[in-house]
Every structure is written in C-alpha cells, then in structure tokens.
C-alpha cells in the first residue's frame, strides 16, 4: 500500500513537473557560496541572533550559523539570509524520516 502511494506521488509530481518538496511541504534551502542562503517554505523563525538563525521546517529545524547574519527580507513564502555563513544544519524531529 505504501509502495502504491509512493508510486502515485511520483506519477503526479513527474507528470505535472512540480518539484516534489513543494507537494510535500518541505523547506527548500538554496545556498550561494557562503554569503547567501535562500529558504523557501519554512514554517517560522524560532531564534534569530547575530550569529545564528533557527528556522522551523516541516520535519525539524534548520539551523544556519555564521557571522553578522542579516535577513534581507522575510515573508510568508521565503526569506533570505546574508552574512558569512559557516554551517547549515538540519535537526530532525524524533520519528521523522
């Protein structure tokens, strides 16, 4: 049954040419060098400091660490972080896949 479900999902995304992470409601993180991080579909900001930004994703937290982090903009759809990015981590919720 699970295989059938997965196959249907694949058919749908492939047929409509929609990125699968959008249908799944997962965050999409695009990193340009170590200066810019573009995060789409995050569920909110958990912590925002000069050196770290913790965002809430569907299945866990996205932790962006660096120096002098500045949010270029923040909207319901996406946000852009600028600064010297050191690490981008995913902290999965227990039981998440």
């Amino acid at each position: 049954m699970a295989i059938r479900k997965a196959w249907d999902f694949f058919q749908l995304t492939d047929g409509l040419r929609i990125p699968p992470e959008i249908l799944r409601g997962e965050a999409r993180v695009t990193i340009s060098g170590n200066q810019r991080v573009w995060v789409e579909h995050c569920r909110g900001i958990l912590t925002f400091t000069e050196n770290a930004l913790i965002l809430q994703g569907k299945r866990g937290k996205i932790i962006i660490e660096g120096k002098r982090l500045v949010m270029e903009y923040y909207t319901r759809e996406d946000l852009v972080v600028r600064g010297t990015v050191r690490t981008v981590q995913y902290e999965m919720r227990e039981g998440g896949s």
């Binding site: 925002f48 500045v70 923040y74 909207t75 319901r76």
Partner: protein
C-alpha cells in the same frame, strides 16, 4: 523599481525589543507585512517597514508585548512634511520647468559666423529691418525666406545657412573670395581729375582723358590734372566737337606732411592694494538686479564678465549673469623715464604712420624730432609722402559752350 516605490510611499527604520521578537516577526510574515533588512544586535532587532504597513503592527505589538520604536523616517511623505515651511522653494521648483517651457518658444540670441566684408552689425541691422528681434516667437521665423533675403541684400554673400538651434538663431555666411565688379561705379564721364593738394608729380600713368600736366610738374591744390573733355579738331584747327570721356590716370604726387603732437611726462597709475570685492548680479530684460549703487572704494578697477546661461546646452534663457570684480586701486602720479618717454613718442609716431599707410599713402622719408621741454614731451617734424590724386570734379573749361551745343543736339 522597488526602492523607488518605497521612497515615494515612505518607509521607516524601526527597532523591536522584547522577549518575543521572533514571534513578532512570524506574525508579521503571516499577515503579509513585509519586513526587510532585519538585523539583530543584542536584544534589539532592527528592520525596515513601509509606512502603510507600519500602521498594521498595532495588534501584533499588543499580542507579542514587544516594544516598537521608530528610529528613522525616509521617503517622500516625510520630505514633503519637512519641507512644508519652504513652500517658496517648491513653488519655484514647480515654476522653473514652466518658465523653461515658456521661454523656449522665443528667440533669445543670434549668432553670426563667417563674417568678413559683411559685418556682424550689418547682419543684425538687416535682421532688425526684417522685424527679427530678440524676444520674438520662434514660429514666426522663416529660415528659408531669410536665407534668400540675406543673399539678395548682400551681394558678397554667396551661401547662407540660417537655422534655429534651441532658442538661438544661427546664421552661417560664406562670402565670395573674388570681389564682384562694381556695377554701380560712379559715372565720371565728362568730369576732370584734380590735384587734392599741393605737390610735385612723381609718376603719371594715363589711360584715358586729356593730360594737362606732366611728370615733374609742381601742382597746386585743385589744379586740373586730366581733363574729361576730349576736343575733336577740324582740318582748319577749329574745334568740331568735344566728347566727354572718363579721366582715368594713376598720378602720384609727392608732398610734405607735418606732424605735431605733445603729451605730458607725468601720468596717473592705479596701483592695486589687493583688496577685492566680487558681486554677481542678474540682468533681466535689460535691467540689472541686485546692483549695488555707489562706489565701493575710493578708486577702483572694475573687471566685468557677462554670460548668458544655457539650459541643456542649447536653450538660452533671457537672463544674463554679470560677475563684477571691484579691485581697490590707489592712484599714483608717476613720471616717465627718458627712455620710456622716447618709447611712447616713437609709438605715437608709428601709429600715425600706420594710419597713413592704411589710407594708401607711401612714406618716402621722415624727419621727426622728439624733445622734452619741462613737463611736456613734443613731437614735431615732417614726413615726405606720395599720395594718389583722386579728386574728381566737374570744372568749367574752354569747351563749355561747345559741350552745351552737343548736348542739345543729342
């Protein structure tokens, strides 16, 4: 584009402080309140927000219990509010384009290039004669017609180009290199060539007419040199008739001219003291505005420059800017040194000789003396010159009665 829109509608730089700053940001994003340039420093979070969206923050602030403070206001609404007291400036700024638009429909300057025999003044006079003057409408000027009229008026002009560049009427002229033979040369038929002064004839070339003198003769003023009446004799020696001819001869008469001049050995020199005052004034419609009356210094030297400003390189406007520098000077009575005196005197003599040469006089010899007597320097002496006889006049001669007969017979 986005930045321009933000500037037009105005935006704010705000600081957010409190325990639930992140919640505040999330709620803003959830309610589609756009925040940008978010920066965290310690407990304070700085962000930019548009003026319109700032008013929507009220409920979010109450809910999250953060404190929002405006740090900086930017954009047009704030600028206008700030500049409300300077309404004159804004009125002028609004009127300036109207003024430019209005003045660009009129003629404000005339430029003439390529002048030679036809002078710029003659051209301007011609324009005035055809009612083309500063301040008239550009639409009333017909360039093609004016080109035709210019060529018709001045025979020496072989090509013209009249064009309007902005508010300037530019006239380019091209004159003929070879002078046109004068059609309206004075008719000297029957006239006589006389001596304009006393002197000795040193050279004589006769082309037409009856010579009455010869080379080497001493002639008096108004003495007949070449007659314009040619008698035709009969076989018995009596005059049959008298034909009027044009006397044409090149006769050089040598004579002495006297030169006498005197000038003072002292002169007033203005010594600048170094003090200077500058003034800028506007000239509007021939009237000088902001002109300070009265003398600024006891004695002064004035340096003036007048300029007509141009808008966008081509549009001249009917305003002129005059810059005047008043330099304080102290008058000192100076005395020429002997060498200087001779130099000044020499210059005066040379200037006199140059004016003679300009008139076509040949200078053969000069014997001029310079002497200093007391406070006066005197120049005196004689110059031997050769001048051309060019006095034409109708004179009464022995054939007058016969001429009358011929004229009535015709």
């Amino acid at each position: 584009m986005g930045k321009a829109v933000r500037l037009i509608f105005g935006y704010l730089c705000i600081t957010i402080r409190g325990e639930h700053v992140e919640r505040f940001l999330n709620l803003c994003a959830g309610r589609r309140i756009h925040l940008w340039n978010l920066q965290r420093s310690g407990e304070i979070c700085r962000a930019m927000i548009s003026l319109r969206e700032f008013y929507k923050l009220h409920t979010i602030v109450r809910k999250t219990k953060v404190r929002v403070a405006i740090q900086k206001r930017m954009g047009l609404p704030f600028f206008v509010r700030k500049m409300r007291t300077r309404w004159v400036f804004f009125a002028c700024a609004a009127l300036a384009p109207c003024f430019c638009l209005m003045t660009s429909r009129f003629l404000w300057s005339v430029e003439v290039t390529g002048c030679g025999k036809v002078t710029e003044d003659q051209c301007l006079e011609f324009l005035l004669g055809h009612e083309i003057m500063i301040g008239m409408r550009l639409s009333d000027i017909d360039e093609t017609e004016m080109e035709k009229l210019l060529r018709k008026e001045f025979e020496d002009i072989i090509w013209t180009n009249v064009q309007l560049v902005g508010t300037t009427l530019r006239i380019d002229l091209k004159e003929r290199d070879v002078p046109k033979e004068k059609e309206n040369a004075p008719d000297r038929r029957g006239m006589d060539l006389l001596s304009p002064f006393d002197g000795t004839i040193v050279s004589m070339t006769l082309r037409s007419g009856v010579p009455k003198v010869k080379q080497g003769d001493y002639v008096k003023k108004e003495q007949l040199l070449v007659s314009g009446s040619l008698p035709i004799y009969q076989e018995d020696g009596t005059i049959k008739e008298v034909l009027p001819v044009t006397p044409d001869a090149t006769i050089w008469i040598e004579r002495e001219r006297w030169i006498e001049d005197a000038f003072s050995v002292t002169f007033v020199q203005k010594e600048p003291t170094g003090r200077e005052k500058n003034m800028t004034s506007l000239i509007l419609g021939g009237r000088e505005l902001n002109k300070k009356k009265g003398k600024w210094f006891y004695d002064e030297v004035k340096v003036e420059t007048t300029k007509m400003p141009k808008l966008f390189q081509i549009l001249r406007i009917p305003v002129m800017i005059r810059k005047t520098s008043h330099l304080e000077a102290f008058p000192i009575l100076e005395k020429y040194e002997e060498e200087e005196l001779f130099a000044v005197a020499e210059e005066k003599i040379l200037r006199f000789l140059a004016t003679l040469e300009e008139k076509g006089v040949q200078i053969i010899e000069k014997d001029v003396k310079i002497s200093i007597e007391g406070d006066c320097c005197q120049i005196y002496g004689s110059i031997l010159v050769r001048e051309r006889a060019d006095l034409f006049r109708k004179t009464e001669d022995e054939f007058d009665g016969i001429k009358q007969v011929i004229t009535t017979r015709k």
